[in-house]
Symmetry: D2
Subunit: 372 residues, 4 copies
Amino acid sequence: MTIRLGMVGGGEGAFIGAVHRIAARMDGHYTLVAGALSSDAARAASSAAALGIAPERAYADFREMATAEAARADGIEAVAIVTPNHLHFDVAEAFLKAGIHVICDKPLTTSLEKAKALEALVEETGLVFALTHNYAGYPMVRQARQMVREGQLGAIRVVVAEYAQDWLAERVEDTGNKQAGWRTDPAQSGPGGAIGDIGTHAYQLACYVSGLDFEVSAAELHSFVSGRKLDDNAFITLRAGAARGSLWCSQVASGNENALTLRVYGEKGGLAFRQENPNELWFTPLGEPARKITRMGAGAGPVAARVSRVPAGHPEGYLEGFANIYEEAARAIRAHRDGTPPDPGVDFPGIADGVAGVAFIEAAVRLSRERA
Amino acid sequence: MTIRLGMVGGGEGAFIGAVHRIAARMDGHYTLVAGALSSDAARAASSAAALGIAPERAYADFREMATAEAARADGIEAVAIVTPNHLHFDVAEAFLKAGIHVICDKPLTTSLEKAKALEALVEETGLVFALTHNYAGYPMVRQARQMVREGQLGAIRVVVAEYAQDWLAERVEDTGNKQAGWRTDPAQSGPGGAIGDIGTHAYQLACYVSGLDFEVSAAELHSFVSGRKLDDNAFITLRAGAARGSLWCSQVASGNENALTLRVYGEKGGLAFRQENPNELWFTPLGEPARKITRMGAGAGPVAARVSRVPAGHPEGYLEGFANIYEEAARAIRAHRDGTPPDPGVDFPGIADGVAGVAFIEAAVRLSRERA
Amino acid sequence: MTIRLGMVGGGEGAFIGAVHRIAARMDGHYTLVAGALSSDAARAASSAAALGIAPERAYADFREMATAEAARADGIEAVAIVTPNHLHFDVAEAFLKAGIHVICDKPLTTSLEKAKALEALVEETGLVFALTHNYAGYPMVRQARQMVREGQLGAIRVVVAEYAQDWLAERVEDTGNKQAGWRTDPAQSGPGGAIGDIGTHAYQLACYVSGLDFEVSAAELHSFVSGRKLDDNAFITLRAGAARGSLWCSQVASGNENALTLRVYGEKGGLAFRQENPNELWFTPLGEPARKITRMGAGAGPVAARVSRVPAGHPEGYLEGFANIYEEAARAIRAHRDGTPPDPGVDFPGIADGVAGVAFIEAAVRLSRERA
Amino acid sequence: MTIRLGMVGGGEGAFIGAVHRIAARMDGHYTLVAGALSSDAARAASSAAALGIAPERAYADFREMATAEAARADGIEAVAIVTPNHLHFDVAEAFLKAGIHVICDKPLTTSLEKAKALEALVEETGLVFALTHNYAGYPMVRQARQMVREGQLGAIRVVVAEYAQDWLAERVEDTGNKQAGWRTDPAQSGPGGAIGDIGTHAYQLACYVSGLDFEVSAAELHSFVSGRKLDDNAFITLRAGAARGSLWCSQVASGNENALTLRVYGEKGGLAFRQENPNELWFTPLGEPARKITRMGAGAGPVAARVSRVPAGHPEGYLEGFANIYEEAARAIRAHRDGTPPDPGVDFPGIADGVAGVAFIEAAVRLSRERA
């Protein structure tokens, strides 16, 4: 039986809500049955209707939704939170307290204090909490992480992470673009601009693959676009024990769409991954020719196959990677439903990634200010 | 309301059936409610159960299914045919005669005679017939076709199409691999080996994008693997009026997974597309720098956007392309249901592509034999 | 002591003459001391002066040059022939008869009859005859050939060769472009257009690397540009024993500069080479990840190192590849001078490649006409 | 008449000396007539003999060479300095004082103090001083610089420079590798390891193309290989007015050969260059498709053509780029010889680049220490 899913945010015109819905639908694990898709009652209702949600389960208020759904026999088992960042905490808290699992967009919260409070609540309730650092859902990212774990790179020395875009190279926030509007507004986005929106993805990916907990050792945040309050470009230096790293995120780098890349170098070899072509992973064992490992192809193992649907050479993409987070979360939710231990291979970003991400944002903002 | 869908073939262990199901599910247009998933009754039942199909709608015989579903008030409106090639005709005929729309895998039939018979039946019934030449569902393929139509390349001169794989480089058919087994068996596959399985895709793509009806002018089919009865490599030369083309398909080209590529050159410019990285299209106007057009990026137009789900730089893949065929077919099926004319932009491969593909196979086989 | 070199053709404004001169100079093996750089006496003199050739060794007539140089104690030991194709035979014959080694541009002659006559003369005189199929000078081409020889690909099955350009997509020959003028004129170029100018390079490369003597089994030559007498696009099918191949050459494929590529597939693996990035060779052993072998990098052997100058990651290019032909020829010329056997590793295209290339042109032209 | 050239360093077994000699020879501007190729007299003599240098002009001592050559009527006009870094200053000083032009390898000196002293001497003597930041000789680097100058990118915001290698990932300096030996020895290399050897190249390239004088704002230098005294990896943050930049250099990044790359982003567009494929330059005007500009191809202008030898699609490489520095220096030397003003387009890295490079090294080392 599929998991009954609700959604907060994601009304007509929103971007990431639609992505979550496809991700939830792709593998047949979830059925969307309730939503507070907008805080505007009319828009909430029409958005819900368009999605086939019954009118009585189309809410304008997420707190009302949490209470009402918790009270129904056929109430939702999980909620997807796809609002701007500043609402993540309140919504997540409401549903967790109502006993409902949470699948939440990133970054977790707009302050480390709230992130830790949420972490405590997750631990207390024992509910499933998935954070959609969707790039960690790519098969070849999992392959990379597995190769690091198996020691194929030896001790990690250097990590270079990038996430470059160009869509905010001009004052798009003045044109009525909703996505740009809230992302450049500290009240809705929190203290990080590019660093919160995309820097956290790159940071999570770097830590996820390398297995290291990187700390920010230096940061240079900058707003290039006149009048913009949050950073639109950041250079970060990272340390984790003997390892060193750098992270660049930018929303003003012309010609970059979603150029999220990760390179990891260890004593014995290196790995390179590029989000825009996610079916490939480059492995460069020291002193040997570079090898292109492909999803489901020679050299890729069961960890990647677990989250693959089609054979090598038939590309899977962003939505499949996103769906992998939903699928892994579904396994945990079902195990919870059944009262059984989850599959030991279950792997999705969670509350700890969320806390680390917010700590990363705060450290970067603080260190950059100190330097200026 | 979603379209009630049935499926013939695609039981446990099959590959393409699962792909069709994800494609049907991705955009929420279809609900799978019936199936003759296997000719083995037990396997048909267990496969159906695993997919949540009600037991009374799990059939072991496709003819019985056509009759029974046609008789139900809530009977299926469309059937997906995902059997080996030699069954396409009989299954399609049965459902068309029962008044049910058909979404069929390619190649259409194992003989041109049957292909034409089916074409007549489709015309006679006025039902929707979609052929899953799924690569024609890629947004950048549609972008390419549109650019040719708009005259951005001028008169087309040269088309170079390739589809190279390596999975049949050895006698895989002897290892119990079902996919390899029927594809190398003339009784199930028809007269074409590589040329039928993948050559028809490349041929359809070449015709679809260029807008030309290419004819085979020379063919060199070959079976490299000892004991194999069907071709596993073919070089084809094509003509269409003043245009010339070549097509290479191979299943023995080491290092190629699904290397389907298309290059089109006209008087004023060229285009290049590579299936394994389908979010890019190269446009090379004569005398100007090469331009990389990306899905939803600058330079891509509404024809590509129509079949896109996520912004530029977030890759869509094989399943999304496949789903685009299902989505376009859904529009035609709904228009038929509503008795309205379909959206003029509706675009999916159909019976004519199927007839052309079978004619291509027969011509290639005949010309190759004449030469040998 | 360097080899005293003369040149026929290559006066001011010519392209390939300058390339030969750099190639001859790069490694310090040759000194240019004489020339019949143009049949126009004034232009021959001024071109020679610009190159530091003494006035008395600047000839307007190549026959006079052959005679005069043969008579000098310090006469040239070798001549570089860089004229249009129709002059290759007469010039080569004159210098061979004068006892002077020849380094000649391709194609060898404008007829197979003359090619064979020249072959006989080379055998008779025992002189060095190098044909500048310069692409065979690339280190990674030699690496490829060596890997085939060592059996790393197993028995060769399929070869796909391409050489695509776009510079003749319009009627450039009418604009006063000398290069285009003689290449599109049968009287100067011989019976092949694209097929002679660039098809022969692709053909030589295919044979050189695969070790197979391919024969043309079908050909489709075409002139797309109105009024052009020679082919500007050709699709060729090749056979060599059990192996099959295809060759495409075009001068009207917009967006292609010098897109010479070679792919070779054997029972055990494949290789891919792309002239425009000649420091890489892709090796795809069946069932293993693709490997990128780089010049002087891991996986490249002594055969490539022999013709390399700088370490991996510092690209060598067209001129270095060309210079490798000159260097290898220099070894043969010096061995001849010393009366010693040449280094057994000496490897440069010679008279046999020339005869094969002209046979290829004639067969392609004949088979294409028969079909039309 | 060619320029009479001497060389200090570059005896048998050295790497960069051979490169300088090919670069000097390629375009016929220089003749090598004297050398102090080694401080070991026997090796100096045998190295000179192998290069055809007259015995009386084969010196074991560079000071003796400077004096003797200055005294000859046919003495050298220019000297190429290809010794380890710690000797650059003394050698350059000796030849400048002898009135001889200098072409010197980088980095200029091992201290900023000495760099400035040399700068003063160059100004005082008025002699030509070229520093072989050879990557600035690539045609597409010049194209990039020209496009920035013309304002095609608008005001520069972000520069990302990288130079990654892997050849020092292990303790190669212990294996008798001379190149590794001196480069990892502070006494010969100066205070910078990777940062001096390759970081200065990336820094010079970033400043050269962007037209900005970047200052180091933060630095994280690290030695990963046990016992190594100099950095083998460095992350640097840069500032120049409102622009921000980052620079990564590494000699321990497995799978990188000479991965020097530069990305420049301005208000109106971006550029990307990759040394390992130097015939391409990517231009990404904001809001338009990415364009691949090729050397001598459409979109490349006269500044690139000036330093090109062969048409588009025939790759030029490292040696040609290096030779471009020699060729440009030759123009300046000839102008000096003739007492005429040099061609206004003459462009080669000089003493100012050298001073800036040493300042860069010192700042990076200092800031990294402060942080540690």
